[in-house]
Amino acid sequence: MILEPALVPGAEAIEWNGPRVDSLLMKIYGDPVAEGLALAANEIDIMDVPLTPEQVEEFQKNPNIVLKSFEDLGMAELDFNNQMWPTSDVNFRQAIAHLIDKNWIETDVLKGFGVSIDNPVPSVLGGWSNPNIKKYPYDPDAAKALLNEAGFTLGPDGLRIDPKTGKTLQPVVFYIRADDPQRTAIGERIRKEMEQLGIPVDARFAERAVCSEAVLKKYEYNIYTGGVGITADPDYLFWFYFSGMDIYPEPYGYNYLRIHNDDLDEALLKIHSGSALEDVRSAVFKAQEILAENAHVVPLYQRIGVKAYRKGWEGVVNGAGEGINTWVTFLNTHREEQEYGGEIRYGLSSDIENLNVLTTEWQTDLEVLYRIYDSLLIKNPVNLAEDIPWLATSWVMAPWTSPSGVPGLKITFNLVNNATWHDGVRFTSADVKFCIEYYQQGGRWAGYVSNVEKVDVPSDTVAVTYLNTTSYFALHWLGSMPIIPKHIWEKVSPADWQTYDPLREKTLIGTGPFRFVERKAGEYILLRANSEYFKRPPGKTLTIQEVSLPTLTAGEAQEIDVTLIDYTEAPVTAGTVTATIIDAEGKEVAKINLSHKGEGAYSASLAIEKSGEYTVEIKASYTSVAGTFTAAREFPLTVKEAFPMTTTILAIAIITVIVLVSYILIRRRRSKKAST
């Protein structure tokens, strides 16, 4: 059912400026069916959530809707409690791995909406994924052999014997998520396979909250149908599988699988602290090999999502791991027939809850926040390994040793000099320094900045960060977080940041491509294009289309005409136009305001007393919903000398004399003729 091949790096023609539209209207739909109907009924242009299989089937027949598929940045996995018998035994885990029929999962469970995976670093992460790891094909005989080899022989009652006790194996506690039909089906199938092999199973079908309590809080499980979100950088391997992340008996440890493997730890530490790309990549490959070899966890599948948008939009970028609603899509996209202007109507599957960038965790909130705030760099959505400079134009990484002797990194960010916050205040390195230090007190981004020891700002456009880690990924930790304005957040005390509501305080101020305008709870959020955006497309501007400069004679008044059009090629009727006349010495000799005469045409009367060469500077501006736009053009102007009066009088006199003399001579000739 895959609708198009997986992304090809560089296949998308992306222009790294925008936004092209004037506004972004996010409409809220509490029900995915209603949102799908809204797309079909042309109430919205893009949906935020993947389609259901039924919607895919229906929209494939709709010529007005474009479908794009993508691999999800997440995976479903079979989690083992590596410290609880019998799943603490590697042979037992490997045997279970051989009982998973991944072909059946793809065809019968996922039905084209997913791919089975063998690797906790799936191929969507590109060059980080190791293709040469141990795999566990579906093979009950191999599972049987492994169990027998490990001493889990079959007893007379058909149940496996526990080699430690010599008695029938206690039922393996297997938590199966009941609120996810796919995980339920897979869990049920694995349970049956295990029972067929004589492994007693205590299968517990429960919804998320119950499973979380048993698995994440109390660690009272052997097997669990888990699922995790992953990131574009594979350093999540460290957080999920490093033995130090197992904080048992404390609840909610990252490493709730309780993996303790010295070789794995060594590789994970290199991932976490390695500075050189090749060393880190080698460690990532090694970690995948060890995880697979020991079956510490069995990756099951990755979802393939399908997202949809209305036909007639250009510049939609289908990103790896996220689909069409990438950050760049909202920057780039515009209607086919209109290069600039207009509005994108974007469906949201739930209302926003919390627009405090430090504390929010919900995807809908981030949809809004990521339009308002920028980061130092961004990932190329079609090639996750490529970093695109953004608020930072460039960066330099160098080794550094902290005062306490810990080897670390010094990352110098060179910043743009033309970015401003939405309230007009200039963005500087002081904002970057403040942001890093503020995030360190807590919240969503605290982990991203926890290794920063200090930040220096030698100039407005340079921020030097000193980290007590040598991790290659530190660049992305600092580079990917939203930068908040110092002049706003310095007024929020450390005691209040957790409950601070920028929406209520009207301080949703960023440097981003869109400005927050309005929110109606449960209905919509309206954002407008930031007309002062530092990456505004050059073509999205005001144009002085025509200028008609008359041939001027000194002292004589003539009309000067200017025509203005906006970026949609519509005439500008509410603009301000001035013409400044500057002489050859650079001195201003006149300044006039042109009045609108209709259809974007502006004119005024211009008279210059002295002849000579001049320059006319036309400056125009106008303000629309998209902001204030200005334009300027210069033209040469020659003012001719006026025809001199004395010369005129002399000429008239000579002509008069000539005429009179001619008249007299003609009269005389006629008289002579008459007399003869």
């Binding site: 739909y29 029900d31 809204a38 994440l216 809080k217 609840p251 909610y252 919390n354 109606k520």
Partner: protein, 322 residues
């Protein structure tokens, strides 16, 4: 017993009942499976220190009796704490949604009572005839159909296929600025969800009315009225219905008590920004402060509505003595 004494006694009973409901409300959530902390701390993005800070913020580390006392005080002073999901004050979020719910539920309830009573009256008058059969059948059918299914069908047919009604929300996005246009826009958005709820509930009123009317119509005073030549319409609506209304008053009063709880499924389907969809969200995310607040408010309203029903009943029926 005088009315005054009756009122005082009922108020005392109400307070006792309220205390019982509040305690039950507290204990239910304490005993519920699943750990609300997974909402906050289930995310792997938080450090251990951050989790501890949030546990302290919500008072989850305190002993149960201390939390109970705090809970009682908070409920009585309308301080419902912060939502685990949004981190915003629950009372603020409820007040934001309450008007939409009262509008939707109020309109559909009034319409279904009015229509149900009229249909029930005529069904009783034409007992056994075609009208009666159709009325009973349609009442039972619409009552049996799931509201979310009905809502989706209306949405698909009237909203999408015919394009007659909007697909979501309480207003156009962006909304009209002029007052009358705004009101019209709101009614336009209200129509389908209110129709869904109306169809679901009018049948119940029709059947209750029919049942009580049949009883009233068999009374001797009705025969007398007929013998005197009083018009059938007057007999039905002035004589019989007056007496048949008494049980309806009680039901209607209690139904009004449930106005604030919203209609979870209908609000979800129509993206109606009300208490029902709020409750649904809270259930999904174990947002206990929200659920406690909604249940508490609903209980208070139902208790008050019941009390009002008792008073009204006594005023309407002179036979009732306090």
């Amino acid at each position: 017993m005088t009315l005054q004494a009756f009122v005082l006694r009922r108020v005392a009973n109400m307070l006792l009942l309220l205390f019982f409901v509040m305690t039950l409300n507290f204990l239910i959530f304490m005993a519920a499976p699943g750990d609300p902390m997974t909402v906050i701390v289930g995310s792997r993005l938080l450090t251990t220190q951050q989790r501890e800070d949030l546990i302290e913020l919500y008072g989850l580390q305190e002993p149960i009796w201390s939390r109970y006392v705090k809970y009682l005080r908070n409920m009585l002073t309308w301080q419902f704490g912060y939502s685990y999901y949004s981190l915003r004050p629950v009372s603020e979020e409820i007040m934001e949604r309450l008007p939409n719910t009262i509008l939707l539920m109020g309109v559909s309830l009034l319409a279904s009572i009015a229509a149900g009573v009229v249909i029930g009256v005529y069904a009783a008058a034409k007992r056994g005839k075609l009208f009666d059969i159709v009325a009973i059948t349609s009442s039972l059918v619409t009552y049996a159909l799931p509201t979310f299914w009905m809502g989706l069908v209306f949405l698909f047919f009237f909203g999408y296929q015919l394009g007659l009604f909007p697909l979501a929300g309480t207003m156009s996005r962006p909304p009209p600025s002029e007052l009358f246009s705004k009101a019209g826009d709101l009614l336009w958005h209200l129509f389908l969800p209110a129709l869904t709820l109306f169809l679901y509930s009018y049948g119940g009123w029709a059947l209750i009315t029919r049942s009580t009317m049949l009883e009233a119509l068999s009374e001797e005073y009705i025969w007398s009225a007929r013998a005197k030549g009083v018009s059938e319409r007057t007999i039905l609506f002035k004589h019989a219905l007056r007496n048949a209304l008494l049980p309806l008053i009680t039901n209607a009063a209690v139904s009004f008590g449930f106005l604030v709880s919203g209609a979870i499924l209908t609000e979800q389907v129509f993206s109606w920004h009300g208490i029902g969809s709020y409750t649904w969200n809270a259930i999904q995310y174990n947002d206990y402060p929200v659920l406690q607040a909604v249940f508490y408010i609903t209980a208070v309203c139902v208790i008050l509505a019941n009390f009002a029903a008792d008073i009204i009943y006594g005023l309407v029926d002179p036979r009732v003595k306090y």
